[in-house]
Amino acid sequence: MQSKSSNMTNTIQNTNRLAKFDWKRYIVYIAFVGVFIYFSISLYDQGFLSSNNLLNIARQTAMISIMAVAMTFVISAAEIDLSVGSIAALSSLTAALAMKAGFGVAGGIVAGLGTGALIGLINGILVTRVAIPSFLVTLGMMGIAKGLAMWITNTAPVPILNKTYNFVFGSGDIGPVPVLLIWTLVIAVIGHILLRKTAFGRQTLATGGNESAARFTGVNTAKIKLLVLVGSGLLAGLAGMLYAGRMHAGRFTFGEGDELSVIAAVILGGTSLFGGMGTVIGTVFGSLMIGMINNGLIIMGLDVSQQMVVKGLIIILAVAFGRRTIKR
């Protein structure tokens, strides 16, 4: 809730305006590099830098990154989606159930993505047609999707035995490269191009920047909002399928609490919580940074409680450090 204010401050304090603005955008990269260097040095002999470990970080953050790419659009359009974690859980199950029922990999894909897109569509319709704040719609949907996920199998996990599925959606490596990394890259590149290079991206930013101005200019803001919410549902569905492929099972707890990590990745990346400004690349780095911190602190051998404290401190200090640099 603050880009707004810092925009305002910018409007007010005009000195070094440009410099300030640019730094702000790069904070996440500076912080990322800083944290990386720190861990590389301090955990050098503990395997942090081993390619396997680095790939692990990529694997572990893939689902958050993918959902965060879609969330970048949602937040850029000044909406929010709290239901992503629950959608992932439900999709992991519908995909697993479809395959269990004999519909094969294709069936699994249709079921998983379909679940996500459908819920996203319902979110979108409620936000645009019934005009309920997206915070409330998706909060409600978070409970509904989670409840459904618990209901359909009575909280039991559903194993996935299909090797192809498990390979493509989570567990496989192509050469040394995990498929999860490939998924992340593909989604990030598409997201980046969509946001920066297409009319849709531009109009998403316009909708979030000033909805009425965007409407006056002929942007169909309702359509934009609907689309970003469908997109968010769809990618949450994909994330759920990746959880399923990685874990060889669907389960109702997958993605629990992910909404906060996803939003954190987006904000850390430099997207404004008030809409109108967004960056997909920043988002991905935000997500990677969170994943890297999680990984590094475990390797350090800290207790969970210590990990939580240190992780909190790093997030705050990383951003504070970035800000400080500005002022010079």
């Binding site: 925009n7 007010i12 005009n14 531009r202 000033n210 006056f216 200019t217």
Partner: protein
């Protein structure tokens, strides 16, 4: 447009209005604040839908339900409240929804910037194209808005107070452009409260009053007096006459500014201000007028120089300090700086004086209502009641709230940055009167205005700013005419 009516919450703001626009003409739409001009035009552009009435373009009836319908019919508009997205750059705003594409179908950013450059050159302005527009001043918003409208292929171009934040130079450029458009057969609806402009460029005039059509006739058949008469519905004293006022300039000044430097646009400004004086500040767009007063008011940090009040050095780090010292600033940008648009008229007026209307620990609501109502009446703010959301008021009436805010606070030194943007001629006269009487009561006043007649009518003394420096200081008596001042502004 025929027999257009429109009500908001049961209050009729347009009452069976007829309006006719001929091909290739510049048609002035005039009327007091809240007369319904903007609303009528918003119906034409699909922002609002009329309750009754029909719209014909080229003889056939059209249905305009949303902005895109208007676009398809070749209607575009420069909105009074601006339709820019603050987080996008100038170029991105201008081409929103119509971005040039490359072969792959992606937005061609370079082409976008190139075309923007061309447009801006045509308009003879130099704006930084790569920063979000929220970081630009109002004048630049207005130029961007104009560029955006011009870049569209239109048959009918509506300009809702396009020059309200522009100085003479930019206005001249715009007029040249209007002439060119006219020659191309484009029809223009021109809304303004500046009489001189209307007579310079318009072919016909339509006047609205209280949502009703009053008259339409060719410009040549009208005089300024009759137009004013129709707008205000009565006679008006000659407003823009300068009155020689008496005040002591041999006393020590209330405010002394010495070598003030702040940011890139204020480079060593010095001047004095005396009790009872109205000091006018003139300059081109971007000359640093607004920045100078922002630094005095504690919004921008002061890099060097000092400010003395009653010969005491002031340390102003934030607006609060300035307010405590008895300085008030009416900012130029009412949307971003002046008003909390989603708050009521009353809440906006009372915000600076909350501590004055306390009863014990709490706000005295009755007193607050009374003060708010008083100012609504005094400044003739047209609103259903004092609880109406400011966003819903007409542009001129919003500006009056901004003024009311600070008049209510009765500071020692009142700084007014473009105080009458968008205010109708009647109200402007009243405001000028109020400012004069404030000065008469011993307050010191600084006025920035791009509207030279107004500046000349008010000021006892004028200083001219150029690139953040005072280039000229003139006593009002030395200024024989507007041209003299205009010349002083332009000569570096």
């Amino acid at each position: 447009m025929s027999q257009i009516s429109k009500s908001f919450n049961g209050i009729k703001v347009l009452n069976s209005v007829d309006f006719e626009l001929r091909r290739g003409e510049v048609h002035a739409l005039m009327g007091g604040n809240g007369a319904g001009k903007s609303t009528l035009m918003k119906i034409l552009t699909g922002v609002y839908q009329g309750d009754e009435g029909q719209i014909f373009i080229d003889g056939s009836e059209v249905s305009i339900q949303q902005p895109n319908d208007a676009k398809e019919n070749g209607v575009s508009m420069i909105f009074q409240e601006f339709s820019l997205v603050p987080t996008l750059t100038v170029a991105q705003n201008i081409f929103l929804t119509r971005e040039p594409r490359n072969n792959l179908g992606f937005i061609d950013e370079k082409e976008c910037i190139r075309q923007t450059e061309q447009l801006l050159n045509e308009l003879n302005v130099n704006i930084d194209r790569n920063i979000p527009v929220e970081q630009l001043g109002v004048g630049y918003w207005q130029m961007t808005e104009i560029a955006k409208a011009l870049s569209q292929n239109t048959k009918i171009l509506i300009m809702d107070e396009p020059t309200s934040s522009l100085t003479k130079n930019e206005t001249e450029v715009l007029f040249e452009l209007i002439d060119k458009l006219k020659a191309k057969g484009i029809s223009i609806i021109y809304i303004s409260h500046r009489m001189d402009e209307i007579f310079r460029i318009c072919d016909r005039i339509t006047i609205l009053r209280d949502g009703k059509h009053v008259m339409t006739s060719p410009c040549s058949e009208l005089t300024m007096e009759t137009v004013i008469q129709h707008i205000v519905g009565g006679n008006l004293e000659h407003a823009f006459e300068w009155k020689d006022r008496n005040y002591q300039r041999n006393q020590e000044p209330v405010l002394q500014v010495r070598n003030l430097t702040s940011g890139r646009r204020v480079n060593g400004v010095s001047f004095d201000l005396y009790r009872g004086e109205i000091l006018g500040i003139a300059g081109l767009m971007g000359s640093g007028r607004s920045e100078m007063v922002r630094a005095i008011f504690g919004i921008d940090p002061i890099d060097s120089g000092e400010i003395l009040m009653n010969s005491q050095k002031l340390s102003i780090k934030k607006p609060e300090d300035a307010i405590k010292a008895g300085i008030a600033l009416v900012p130029e940008d009412r949307r971003m700086q002046g008003l909390i648009l989603d708050h009521s008229v009353k809440d906006n007026i009372l915000l600076p004086i909350l501590s004055n209307i306390k009863k014990g620990m709490f706000i005295d609501d009755a007193k607050g209502n009374q003060i708010a109502s008083e100012f609504v009446t005094r400044l003739n703010i047209k609103t259903d009641n004092i609880f109406k959301t400011s966003r819903l008021l007409s542009g001129g009436n919003q500006q009056k709230i901004v003024l009311a805010k600070w008049l209510a606070n009765s500071p020692e030194i009142l700084i007014l940055d473009e105080p009458t943007i968008g205010v109708d001629i009647g109200a402007k006269t009243e405001i000028i009167e109020i400012i004069r009487s404030l000065a008469d009561s011993g307050k010191a006043i600084i006025v920035i205005s791009s509207e030279l007649p107004e500046l000349l009518a008010l000021s006892d003394r004028v200083i001219v700013l150029n690139e953040g420096r005072v280039t000229k200081e003139m006593d009002r008596k030395e200024i024989a005419s507007e041209e003299v001042l205009q010349h002083a502004i332009q000569v570096v």
